[in-house]
């Protein structure tokens, strides 16, 4: 669940909402369905670092 820092509305990221947006799905922002405030989507760099970290953890467990 994401809580909008502007209006306090709690919501889940929903790509359906983006279909009617002129920016399209790939803008990398998450819009609050209540007030339109946009938050940055997940950082790709951080998610890649997380993935690598997870792999390292798995490898170390195997060993």
């Amino acid at each position: 669940m994401i809580k909008c820092p502007m209006c306090g509305f709690q919501f889940q990221q929903n790509k359906k909402v983006c279909r009617n947006c002129p920016m399209g799905i790939g803008c990398g922002q998450i819009c609050c369905p209540n007030c339109g405030y946009n938050l940055p989507g997940e950082s790709k760099i951080i998610s890649k670092i997380n993935n690598i970290w997870e792999r390292i953890k798995k490898c170390s467990k195997k060993n």
């Binding site: 820092p5 502007m6 359906k16 922002q29 369905p33 007030c35 946009n38 940055p40 997940e42 790709k44």
Partner: protein, 648 residues
């Protein structure tokens, strides 16, 4: 098994778990299709309840039954046209105010319905205790609690569907509205929706009902209904939709008072008191000034001074640019291609250097500061302060939100203007965004340039920009029919921001910024490169000379900044920053150039979004007005400063 199919629709705010409940009721056999005449998708599935085959619709999320978006219109139209037998209102138990606002409207609509308080576990965790029995008694409808993600309460929900009755709950509106309702109800055709609810939609100015009414009523009756609506609207200062919503909100508050108990543990420390006074009419202003001053110091002086100096002069000036030149000279023998990469208007020496060496350190600092404001809970307080400022202009409520969001990104804020009710409000907010609300990147570069100036010059820039916004907003509000509806903001407690949150958000915002800005920086540079090579740049500079040099009093090279400013205002500002950095502009020229570029057309993305949202004609008109006012006011500032002999 009975052949007759029951039609059940799931209704509720966005993101309350409707789709999960829908999946649990229908299983996997569903069809997804666009609702006739729209691009809105409606999911339809089948289930067997009480030995009857049922069609279940998953309607788009709504915040009101007076539609303000295509999604909301589709949900209302399903109830109006689909011969619905029963409704399941799926609600987020944590957002009880929004839940009850919808429940009250459904009660008015009069179709049998059950209120499903979903995510009840999260509400309990937050110590929100809903007296379901009392609420059920008051509203006259059954209430079920579910945790859809754990399949809890679904069997009870199915059981409750067996014995649904039409609700009999009416809000008593004020006497003027009640009188008008009686007059309107008589003339309305029979429909699935209760006549009282239809009348309320009509009185609230629901334009989307018109086509349905035209099909079902004579011209005479239609005219009479419009007259009643207009007569009533004249008796109130605020729009009727706002008045009706206010009275529903009061009813909701009364229900909450008697049926919901929220245990709040408030730690009354210094942060609590700071949070309270930051919204105060008097103390809120000095706190806002302190916040803006700190932002100016951090972004304008620290990041633009030490940060840019290090990245531009040391990292790029001493290492990256000389290396890039060496590599290009070694690899590419053709002089034209060499210049394309590392020449005066080279992709590396101009586009990449501007983007990474000038704008990025400034924008990073701005995003860090913005992240602190966001994570500390100051942003809603900023919206409250801005609301007071906007009231001076005559704008109100919802209009504030896109203007505050414009400080992040004007393009996204233009889309947010959708939440406004009237077309005129949308146009005015789009105009104000295009004209005077600098986006994060541009604001960063502006703060950096201001840091080079005296305090009086900074005040002059702030004063001029504020005066222009106030004047345009005030003039625009004069053509507005009344005030917009207030917006519900949940004010969180002020808290100490978490460093990890701020860093993660800053990194994500930087990624987004670079992805969006760098291609346009490269495109702008290519444009200048081509214009230079075909000898058109000098011709344009010469043609623009009466305006840029004569009227604005700027060096002729400033024309280049305005050309690339068409693609992105922050790129234009970065061009002016580079001119100021090289000592090619004095303080008066810096102020004039800053005023002009602040009021300049925002960026090509915002222009395209404006076309999509407001139409080509309006978008072109807004761009023309913005362009004209930017140069006019810039020129006037130059003229007045010179005429009065003021040296900044």
């Amino acid at each position: 098994m009975n052949i007759k199919e029951n039609k059940i629709v799931l209704v509720g705010n966005p993101n309350v778990g409707k789709s999960v409940i829908f999946g649990l009721l229908t299983g996997k056999y569903v069809t997804v299709s666009n609702y006739p005449g729209t691009t809105v998708e409606v999911t339809k599935g089948y289930a067997v309840l009480e030995n009857k085959k049922c069609i279940i619709f998953d309607s788009p999320g709504i915040n009101s039954f007076i539609p303000q978006s295509e999604d909301e219109k589709v949900t209302r139209d399903i109830l109006l046209n689909q011969k619905i037998d029963k409704i399941i209102q799926v609600a987020d138990a944590k957002n009880i105010t929004r839940t009850l606002l919808i429940a009250l409207q459904l009660a008015e609509i009069g179709l049998p319905f059950v209120l499903d308080l979903n995510m009840i576990d999260e509400a309990r965790e937050k110590r929100i205790n809903i007296d379901e029995k009392e609420l059920s008694k008051k509203l006259g409808i059954p209430i079920v609690s579910t945790i859809a993600t754990q399949n809890q309460g679904i069997a009870e929900l199915k059981e409750t569907l067996k014995n649904l009755k039409r609700p009999d709950y009416h809000i008593k509106y004020d006497s003027l509205i009640e009188e008008a309702l009686l007059r309107v109800e008589k003339f309305l055709p029979e429909s699935q929706i209760n006549k009282r609810a239809l009348s309320l939609m009509l009185l609230a100015g629901d334009l989307s009902l018109k086509s349905w009414l035209k099909e079902n009523l004579s011209q005479e009756k239609l005219k009479f209904l419009e007259e009643v609506q207009e007569d009533l609207a004249e008796k109130y200062i605020e729009p009727l939709a706002y008045i009706i919503n206010e009275q529903r909100l009061k009813e909701t508050e009364n229900l909450i008072k008697s049926c919901v108990k929220t245990e709040k543990i408030i730690l009354k420390n210094w942060v609590y008191y700071l949070g309270r006074i930051s919204m105060d009419r008097f103390w809120g202003i000095p706190i806002l000034i302190i916040v803006l001053f700190l932002m100016y110091k951090f972004v304008g002086e620290f990041a633009a001074g030490a940060g840019v100096n290090f990245v531009e002069n040391t990292v790029f000036g001493k290492y990256l640019n000389p290396w890039a030149i060496k590599i290009v000279n070694f690899l590419i023998p053709i002089p034209l291609i060499k210049e394309l990469f590392v020449g005066e208007y080279g992709i590396f020496t101009m586009a990449i250097t501007y983007a990474l060496a000038i704008v990025m350190p400034i924008v990073t600092a701005f995003f860090l500061f913005f992240g602190i404001l966001e994570d500390s809970g100051y942003l809603p307080r900023l919206a409250i302060m801005a609301n007071r400022f906007c009231k001076i202009m005559g704008l109100n409520g919802k209009a504030v939100l896109p203007l505050v969001l414009g400080l992040g990104c004007d393009t996204m804020a233009t889309i947010t203007a959708r939440i406004l009710e009237t077309k005129k409000e949308k146009i005015i907010v789009t105009l104000l965004l295009a004209l005077g609300i600098p986006c994060s990147a541009q604001l960063g570069v502006i703060l950096a340039m201001l840091a080079k100036l005296s305090f009086s010059a900074t005040l002059l820039w702030v004063g001029i920009v504020l005066a222009v916004i106030l004047l345009v907003g005030y003039l625009a509000s004069k053509v507005l029919p009344g005030k917009g509806g207030d917006f519900i903001l949940e004010i969180p407690p002020l808290r100490i921001p978490k460093l990890s949150n701020i860093l993660i958000k800053t990194l994500a915002r930087l990624e987004w910024y670079l992805k969006e800005a760098v291609p346009l920086f490269i495109l702008g540079t290519l444009l200048l490169f081509v214009l230079d090579k075909i000898k058109m740049l000098k011709v344009i500079e010469k043609m623009a000379s009466p305006l840029v040099v004569g009227f604005l009093g700027l060096p002729s090279r400033a024309s280049e900044s305005f050309i690339i400013g068409f693609l992105r205002r922050d790129y234009g500002a970065a061009g002016l920053y580079a001119l100021a950095d090289k000592g090619l502009m004095n303080h008066t020229q810096i102020v004039v150039s800053l005023v002009t570029i602040t009021l300049f057309v925002p960026c090509i993305a915002q222009f395209f979004v404006s076309i999509k949202e407001r139409g080509l004609k309006t978008a072109l008109l807004i761009s023309f007005v913005t362009f004209f006012l930017a140069f006019l006011i810039g020129g006037l500032v130059n003229f007045i400063l010179h005429y009065l002999g003021i040296i900044l």
